[in-house]
């Protein structure tokens, strides 16, 4: 845990907090996400791992549903087609919509189903969240309809570990399994490789990371596991 100036960090690493618990009291800590400050005490307002940096205390969820954020890249399934776009299920409680205007090329209203039909998977970015719901876009590079490969699902809270610092974890898996991997912030992950065996190897690797997400030194564990699996 980081501590700055001469503030001693009173918070031990990777501590789990439960709702209503006093995380820390005294000192100049500020309440971040999932916490509130009452008097001198910072209280947890949800279940998760306590994280503190520069005096800001927050709770990182370790379980539960995905909460969408602007800018998130997500993977979803086309649920419905309207006259001007696609309703996409990104496994969240709000409707997500991809309008024709957010596709990089011109799409005629009559060819909507030909571009993407119900049941197709798509990688998209959330560009707006408002009262009506979530607006998606596939205008940037790396986004668009998914044609091949497999989709797996993990709890969205594991995504940061699966991606790793600056993508280190997912890149390690990509190179060792020889697959392209796109990780949606909502927990859906697209894997594409030359052979199904490679894709399933990548799937097992990702599930391994998700399962062991708590442990310290995860990267080394994963490297070890990948080596062992390759020799099988």
């Amino acid at each position: 845990m980081n501590s700055t100036n001469n503030k001693e960090s009173k918070i031990s690493a990777r501590r789990i907090a439960t709702p209503g618990e006093v995380i820390v009291s005294g000192g100049n800590f500020l309440p971040g996400e999932g916490t509130e400050k009452i008097g001198e005490e910072i209280l947890a307002l949800k279940y998760g791992i306590v994280e503190e940096s520069n005096g800001l205390v927050k709770i990182i969820s370790i379980s539960g549903v995905y909460y969408p954020r602007r800018g998130n890249v997500v993977i979803g399934m086309v649920e419905n087609i309207t006259f001007n776009g696609w309703v996409i299920d990104i496994e969240t409680h709000e409707n997500a919509f991809l309008s024709l205007a957010e596709v990089p090329r011109y799409v005629n209203k009559d060819e909507i189903e030909d571009v993407m039909n119900i049941g197709d998977m798509v990688v998209a970015k959330i560009w707006s969240i408002n009262k009506r719901g979530i607006d998606l876009s596939i205008k940037s590079k790396g986004l668009g309809k998914i044609n091949d490969g497999i989709i797996i699902k993990v709890n969205s809270n594991k995504v940061p570990r699966i991606i790793g610092k600056d993508g280190s974890m997912v890149n390690l898996i990509k190179s060792e399994t020889e697959c392209n991997i796109t990780v949606g912030q909502n927990g859906l992950i697209w894997i594409r490789g030359e052979k199904i065996e490679n894709e399933l190897f990548a799937k097992r690797a990702i599930l391994f990371v998700a399962e062991k997400s708590f442990i310290v030194g995860l990267t080394d564990e994963v490297k070890k596991w990948l080596e062992e699996e390759k020799t099988k």
Binding site: V65, M77, E79, D89, E91, T92, G119, D120, M121, I146, N147, D148, G149, I150, I151, I196, E199, L200, K203
Partner: protein, 268 residues
């Protein structure tokens, strides 16, 4: 967690991989996931069992009561089997009266137990034409990760084997609820098993994962004691050629032997 629909691209892969005789989790087409059986898990039941196949889990309980026999079986006990797909076991199940899926599954298991003659119904007769024991088998899903049907079948057998008959006050003709006699439910020595085979494309598999179960075109559930088949049910919209049916029967027999050898010690 909301929709659990299998993406089309996954379906493509599953089918293609199966053509090579391989499944996503590394199993062979005729291979089951790990089966765990625990009996006596609910103390107020006459008998109970918790069965898990992989991450799929069911809880089965047996209760008994005394009532009049049915018109056409005056000297036999009664059997009632229900299956509840509890909403807590899957985002796909809702609270409310049983949907057709649960009703069909309950009736498949009922037919399986009934036709296998596993329970000796004549021995459940107390007074012919007047008083007989009714056996209630209630099956609840706890987590659905595919193949609830086979877990339910194994659970029903395990719970029955675990069951003792309640004490009965002959003088006042009343069941003493909550007190069990030393007498077990009269069961046959042979253990019947209910095994479901799914057809995906031209391939047959047993014990489907949730995704495999979703995309299969047809399923056939066969209740047998090894060589003798007592019950059968085809489900879902697909159709079967006669050769496929023959292959299914062979696979069912082979699977019975496999599964039986694995679980017989848990079914004492």
């Amino acid at each position: 967690m909301e929709s659990q629909k299998t993406p089309l691209i996954n379906e493509k892969r599953i089918r293609k991989f199966l053509e090579e005789g391989k499944r996503f989790d590394g199993r062979k087409p005729e291979e089951f996931r790990e089966i765990k059986i625990e009996t006596g898990v609910s103390k107020n039941a006459e008998g109970s069992a918790r069965v898990s196949i992989g991450k799929t889990e069911v809880l089965v309980g047996v209760k008994m009561d005394v009532s009049e026999p049915y018109q056409d079986s005056q000297d036999k006990g009664n059997l009632t089997t229900t299956m509840e797909l509890l909403p807590l076991s899957s985002p796909m199940f809702e609270a409310g009266p049983p949907k057709i899926e649960a009703i069909e599954m309950g009736r498949v298991i009922d037919r399986f137990i009934r036709e296998s003659k596993f329970i000796n119904m004549e021995k459940l007769c107390i007074k012919e034409g007047e008083k007989v024991w009714t056996v209630f088998i209630d099956i609840y899903s706890i987590n659905d990760d595919g193949n609830l049907l086979d877990a339910a079948g194994i659970g029903a057998i395990a719970a029955l084997k675990n069951s003792k008959i309640p004490k009965y006050d002959k003088k006042n003709e009343k069941v003493i609820y909550g007190e069990l006699s030393d007498e077990s439910i009269p069961l046959s020595k042979e253990i019947p098993l209910s095994i479901t085979i799914h057809k995906i494309g031209k391939n047959l598999i047993v014990d489907p994962s949730r995704e495999e179960e979703e995309i299969s075109e047809t399923r056939v559930t066969i209740g047998s004691s090894g060589e003798l088949i007592h019950s059968m049910q085809k489900g879902k919209k697909g159709s079967l050629s006669i050769k496929e049916m023959s292959d299914i029967l062979d696979l069912a027999e082979k699977t019975y032997k496999n599964i039986f050898s694995k679980i017989k010690k848990d079914l004492k």
